[in-house]
């Protein structure tokens, strides 16, 4: 009993710095932001009470509504693409030998290691209509008709950013799901092989169900990161052209620091938090299933 108490005391002691850190930089700002969302404040002087005015102005502002729509589209599309691609990579690498697997894991994970701003600038050049790699390649192979002004056209601007986001996040999903797939006992695959199951059927019936918790974790992590994304979109298009690729973080920053409306930005943050929370609950519901011990 004494040992247990001492262990608990030691554990609490070690946890204090982390708890303090999270409290100071996450919990307190969260509640402060919530309070600010009911106030009118331009960054100077004293805040004034504003009731639900900020929430109404956010919901009535067409730019804010478009930004929410863009954020949801971007987050879900890039998450879906990243998870699917990551799973495919993990499955393909599973069949390789140790050395080959290591090599390909490094190659496929390297986009995730690059700074996001660098990736954004790199792809701005990639998509440049005049001197970009993509248009020049299309011209070279005789597909000049498929050339576009990728980051300017309505139909392609957001799609290009989503493509880059998928390219960047698939590697992380791959690493998580590959590690989980490696933990599945080979005996299960062998016995299914004896029953006549092919590789795809093995993955569908054995591999993916058993690693479902890891897929859920990877999906939630990726979704949260994509909702928060600011640097990639800002470096590639600055939210433009017009507001075609403007997302909530960009509008929040503009509303607070350029328009001087910190209350509205805070209200937007609270509403965005609700959207993200609902999205995560939705994903948990879709991907819910039993956990197996093996």
């Amino acid at each position: 009993m004494k040992m247990k108490q001492r262990t608990m005391r030691t554990g609490v002691l070690y946890l204090i710095p982390a708890v303090l850190f999270v409290t100071l930089f996450s919990v307190i700002p969260f509640f402060w932001n919530f309070v600010l969302s009911f106030q009118k404040w331009d960054g100077f002087g004293q805040p004034e009470a504003a009731g639900f005015y900020n929430y109404l102005s956010v919901l009535q502002n067409p730019l804010s509504r478009r930004a929410f729509g863009n954020s949801i589209l971007y987050a879900f599309s890039s998450t879906f693409g990243g998870v699917v691609l990551g799973l495919i990579f993990a499955v393909l690498i599973l069949r390789l030998s140790q050395k080959e697997g290591s090599f390909f894991r490094l190659i496929l994970y390297s986009p995730a290691m690059l700074p996001t701003a660098v990736v954004g600038i790199m792809f701005v050049f990639f998509f440049n209509p005049e001197m970009g790699l993509l248009n020049n390649f299309l011209r070279l192979v005789g597909l000049g008709g498929l050339q576009h002004v990728w980051l300017q056209e309505k139909g392609t601007a957001m799609a290009c950013i989503i493509f880059v986001a998928i390219w960047k996040c698939a590697g992380s999903v791959m690493m998580l799901t590959f590690a989980a797939l490696q933990g599945v006992p080979r005996s299960l695959y062998e016995s299914s092989y004896l029953d006549g199951a092919g590789f795809l059927q093995q993955m569908r019936s054995i591999g993916f169900p058993l690693i479902r918790p890891m897929i859920l974790l990877a999906t939630i992590n990726t979704l949260g990161a994509q909702f928060k994304s600011y640097d990639l979109i800002f470096t590639m298009t600055q939210g433009g052209p017009a507001d075609l690729t403007t997302t909530v973080p960009i509008v929040m920053k503009k509303t607070a620091f350029i328009f001087g409306s910190f209350g509205s930005a805070a209200a937007m943050g609270v509403l965005f938090t609700i959207v993200v929370a609902v999205s995560i609950l939705l994903i948990r519901r879709i991907l819910r299933g039993e956990s197996y011990e093996y």
Partner: protein, 447 residues
């Protein structure tokens, strides 16, 4: 071994805790980090900014003088885009070396609002900030009224014309002082235009301009371009709007706020602007809405586009980069029969919670004085100091363009942001004239 591990873990935890609190410190010795403090810490300090600013100013100077240390004046006005920018700040530092330590900070034009807001809200602002006079309404309440200082110093007041001081006055307060006059001009490729048979007139209407553009386009090059970064996105529209108003003699009504940006005049200007994009006259064609200033300049030098707008202050520098042809000045086309161009003043203001207001005024006087402003003029720019003469013939031609300079009303942040960053995109890609008029109306009511 177990004890050793426990001790190491405890020490590590303690070190991390200490680092956490050290990172929260608001006292910095570099000015740039002061500008980028997070909104969380900035906001909590900012609520007491107004009340503690004045007392902090006096006590900071007094304590520094008491210890024999020179006060540091943070000067957010180093414009590296100009050749003269670093030269002027170096000269300022040298001139004031006996009295003050001048910390010259590079202007981040794209993030000026953010930098200034967080700086002032953190209660550790720069002592002097650069900002355009046309947008000073955003910070008028936080700027020191410089009128008493100028009234007490006739020599200082003589640096500026009445019109310049008027442009810097809001509600009777002189909220800033100009260091540079700036307006928009168009540079043209003389040889290429002559070859195609386009004669540059002293003035031309939008219809005449369109006819010339058609001729240039038929020759296989782009006639015109307009960068969408550096707040230049709506230059074509803003100039068109001013010329529509000039034709109806309504510019003063516009400045007084009697004509909105969703008016019929605005509609005319938007239609004229859209026509340039729809007719394919804007470089690089389909990418015209996202072209950056560097790309536009490169295309101009390469002869891919024959006319490009530029800020008057930078016109000589841009023109001097053209080695294969002679750049000439081209008048802005007017929608009506009277020319009008967009112009403003780049100014310097002192925030009310500056720690060294009196010292900052002294620094302003030195920086805006003829000695340092002559450096600006000698490099081919247009200083606001009326006592400084410009001798460069090209710059004198540029200054002559200012005869049709017209003022705009002070735009709110929301309106200015929409004009600079969204208007052209909405006009060309996202709904057209009606969408833009609706969004301008929304932005005006939000401001």
């Amino acid at each position: 071994m177990k004890t050793w591990k426990k001790m190491a873990a405890l020490l590590l935890a303690a070190a991390m805790l200490l680092l956490t609190f050290a990172g929260c410190s608001s006292k910095t010795d570099t000015s740039t980090s002061a500008q980028t403090q997070s909104a969380t810490t900035a906001a909590s300090a900012g609520s007491s900014a107004a009340s503690t600013g004045a007392s902090a100013s006096a006590s900071a100077s007094a304590s520094q003088e008491a210890t024999g240390e020179k006060p540091t004046i943070k000067f957010y006005g180093k414009c590296i885009e100009y050749v003269s920018g670093p030269m002027m700040t170096d000269a300022l530092e040298t001139a004031m070396a006996d009295k003050y330590k001048i910390d010259s900070i590079q202007i981040d034009w794209s993030n000026m609002d953010t930098v200034i807001r967080t700086g002032i809200a953190s209660n550790d602002p720069c002592d002097i900030y650069n900002y355009p006079a046309s947008s000073m309404a955003n910070f008028a309440d936080m700027a020191v009224d410089l009128k008493p200082y100028l009234d007490a110093d006739p020599e200082f007041k003589s640096y500026f014309s009445d019109a310049e001081l008027q442009a810097c006055t809001i509600d009777g307060k002189l909220v800033c002082l100009p260091w540079e006059s700036n307006f928009t001009v168009i540079l043209g490729n003389k040889e290429a235009l002559d070859k195609i048979g386009v004669t540059i007139p002293d003035s031309w209407t939008m219809d005449e301009f369109n006819a010339a553009c058609a001729k240039i386009k038929a020759a296989g090059v782009f006639p015109f371009t307009n960068a969408t970064d550096l707040n230049r996105g709506a230059w074509v529209y803003r100039n068109a709007m001013l010329s529509v108003l000039a034709a109806e003699d309504k510019n003063q009504d516009f400045v007084d706020g009697k004509i909105s940006l969703s008016s019929d005049e605005s509609k005319q200007a938007l239609e004229a602007t859209k026509a340039l994009y729809d007719n394919g006259y804007m470089y690089p064609g389909e990418g015209a809405v996202t072209v950056k200033n560097d790309e536009a300049i490169a295309a101009f030098y390469q002869g891919k586009v024959l006319m490009m707008p530029e800020i008057a202050a930078g016109a000589k520098q841009t023109a001097s980069g053209a080695t294969d042809f002679t750049p000439v000045l081209v008048p802005w086309p007017s929608v009506g029969d009277k020319g009008a161009i967009l112009g403003s003043l780049n100014c310097l203001f002192i925030p009310k919670n500056s720690k060294n207001i009196d010292a900052a005024v002294e620094v302003l006087k030195t920086y805006l004085g003829p000695d340092i402003q002559k450096i600006h003029a000698d490099q081919g720019y247009i200083p606001a100091n009326v006592n400084v003469q410009v001798s460069d013939p090209f710059v004198q031609d540029v200054m002559a363009q200012a005869s049709t300079l017209k003022a705009e009303p002070p735009y709110s942040s929301a309106v200015f942001d929409y004009l600079s960053n969204n208007l052209t995109g909405d006009l060309v890609l996202n709904g057209g004239v009606d969408t833009v008029l609706q969004n301008l109306k929304t932005a005006e009511s939000a401001g």
